[in-house]
């Protein structure tokens, strides 16, 4: 099997943009948030990922085939989404390729949106949102904007790898992590993550429609959540509940 991963560009990619990554993960927080950004900002499809590491699937929209993992954008923003749960064993390669591609396109920052699983999420009206940043200066900047830093703990999955590979490439990176259900789609957590995104960037969307459509999204996202849960088990997502050992 060829393990090559290609990103096929359909349009010219602007440099000095911010890249937002929202892949299927805990509560589908990042995926729902990023898909909403794409729809609200009417972003155009710029590129897609082609790889033997992804399942043999195409997604049909209005009768035409699309790769499940795609990049959308405008002159300020690139949004990465996947309509397919990324197989756990391919996640490293896929994330490394996305970050490398972002580096080649000279993105000024990578922001990964995700969820922090909370066992008693149903008892919480307004989930909290936490931030992790790739360097102290960036952490200070986002903290000044009133965002809470995730001081200690483990990050697992796409936001963790996005952070790891961005640091390797010296790209400023931020993870926006909203408390959410582990394996139920959580549009409210996505909306809160988008509100925090607006505090650290010029990406500002009205999330009221997302909240209004919450029940509809939860109904539609059941299958995606189920498939994502299977991959989360394989990537040992539960490590996020662990206490870190830092003496």
């Amino acid at each position: 099997m060829s393990e090559e991963v290609n990103i096929v560009e359909k349009k010219a990619i602007q440099s000095d943009t911010m890249m937002v990554i929202g892949l299927p993960d805990v509560g589908l927080v990042g995926l729902i948030a990023t898909s909403y950004l794409i729809s609200e900002l009417k972003l155009e499809e710029l590129a897609f990922m082609d790889s033997d590491l992804l399942p043999p699937v195409v997604v049909l929209h209005k009768g035409l085939p699309h790769a499940p993992l795609r990049m959308y954008g405008n002159d300020k923003l690139i949004a990465v989404v996947s309509e397919l749960a990324i197989p756990a064993q391919s996640l490293h390669t896929v994330m490394r390729k996305i970050v490398d591609w972002g580096h080649a396109k000279k993105v000024n920052r990578i922001v990964a949106i995700g969820g922090i699983p909370l066992e008693n999420r149903q008892t919480i009206n307004e989930p909290e949102v936490f931030i992790a940043a790739s360097n102290q200066k960036l952490l200070n900047t986002v903290s000044k904007n009133g965002l809470k830093a995730l001081d200690e703990g483990y990050m697992v999955g796409p936001p963790a790898l996005s952070m790891r590979y961005s640091v390797n490439k010296n790209i400023p990176a931020i993870a926006i992590l909203a408390q959410s259900f582990y394996n139920y789609p959580d549009p409210q957590a996505s909306a809160l993550a988008l509100k925090e995104l607006s505090k650290i960037s010029n990406v500002n969307v009205d999330v009221s429609k997302l909240l209004e459509k919450g029940e509809e999204i939860r109904l539609k996202a059941r299958d995606m959540m189920k498939r994502t849960q299977e991959e989360m088990k394989r990537m040992k997502r539960s490590q996020e509940y662990d206490f870190p050992l830092y003496v």
Partner: protein
Amino acid sequence: MSETRKKQSTETLEEYLQQIKELTDKIIGYASSEDPSWNIETCCLQALSNIFITPREVIVTADLPNIEPETIKVEVLDEKVIEITAKMKEKVRFADLGICHRQGEFSFLRCQGRLHVAVVTERMKFSCEKGILEVRLPRKKIQTLK
């Protein structure tokens, strides 16, 4: 033990570990149902659910968006299988979910789960907040630390 033998033993152990990992992945694959998340005959969409077993009780949660809370029905079928059904506020068609090549409509959300431990069905309590159902069932044998 010589260095060569040590190396061989490590390699054999690594091979075993790899085989166990592959087997685990296979088991996870078998355990994950490939059935669709809908049933046209019963007009049901499958709801997502979780089962947590604590020393004192079993907590079952289910994601039930778009339902009429007063229609929620929770049944423990044979002591260890729980079934949850609820009627949706409005019927949902395949087309509403973006599927045009199938026909059918759904009126209920439903899920079933195995409890794994014996519970006292008569003392079952449930509540539903924002479409998240929480069922609490006390265990027959409460586990205590000595």
